[in-house]
Amino acid sequence: MSLPAPSLPQSWWRGLSRPQRFMQISARLLPPLGIISAVGLAAGLYLAWAAPPDYQQGLTVKIMFIHVPCAWLSMLCYTMMACSAAGILLWKHPLAAIALKTAAPIGAAFTLLALATGSIWGRPSWGTWWEWGDSRLFSMFILLLLYCGIIALSRAFDNSRTAAYAAAVLTLIGFIDIPIIKFSVEWWNSLHQPASILRKGGIAIAPAILIPLLVMAAAFTMLFFVLQLLAMRNEILRVSLRALQQKLAWEAEPAAVDEPDTIADNGQDRETGL
């Protein structure tokens, strides 16, 4: 079956701000993206399986093929969230608000995976599950806390507009603070720990290891976009559903629309209770 090449309208960018337009485009993008990420994952897994064990660490080096992509994606996701935060604050873009709200849990998931695989990978050489000496793992943990903060904040408000703005401001402040945190943790690490044994960057990246790594990284990135698009579509459906319920409520009892003017109350006319 030949997929018709999706002919994107010229007003692609302006049109995108309408959610319906986004739903159509994402509906067209999802199948190919899904296929590419599935194929990529399969190829990556096979290559990882076939890669030679590292002379120093033996088989555990194969964990690198998932740890590094996860770590890379937790950064990529946060950068994308920072861009959508800018989109919210500068252009009040409704899709950016949705993108920020849905990307946070996915980013948190990848960061959690990076932490888990990182600690499993370090387990044999460190002897413990959590090695304070490794500053990268600790910074990753702080990034996870930041993600949880953004998730909590974006769901704490009942008004979606304020929720988006508050989360956007926090994301941008976090974005500025990440390098500072990284630097201070590295500095603190050098104070307490001589160079950590597990110099991840230090492993000579032989081509036999580099190729699977790149394939896995690409596959993971594709998977991230699939998950993000799915999550955004769900969020749009959820908002439309809530809107539809409200419409139904009003249409069901038209009489309630203009409630009688109650002079009885002591004039405390406040727009609360919404």
Binding site: I63, R123, L227, L230, A231, R238, L244, L248, E251
Partner: protein, 51 residues
């Protein structure tokens, strides 16, 4: 725990979390679409008898 078991453990956790996330999103999507369709029908029904 031999090295091999660590590798299996790591890949198992990753697979579990990612497929769990994908499944949750996919199922939520279908459920929402279905609920939306029901809502549309109820609204159309309302409009017909309120008509």
């Amino acid at each position: 725990m031999t090295h091999w078991q660590f590798v299996i453990l790591a890949y198992a956790i990753t697979a579990l979390v990612l497929t769990g996330l994908f499944a949750r999103l996919f199922i939520a999507g279908r459920r929402l679409r279905q609920e939306l369709r029901q809502m549309e029908q109820k609204r159309a029904a309302n409009r017909r008898n309120h008509g």
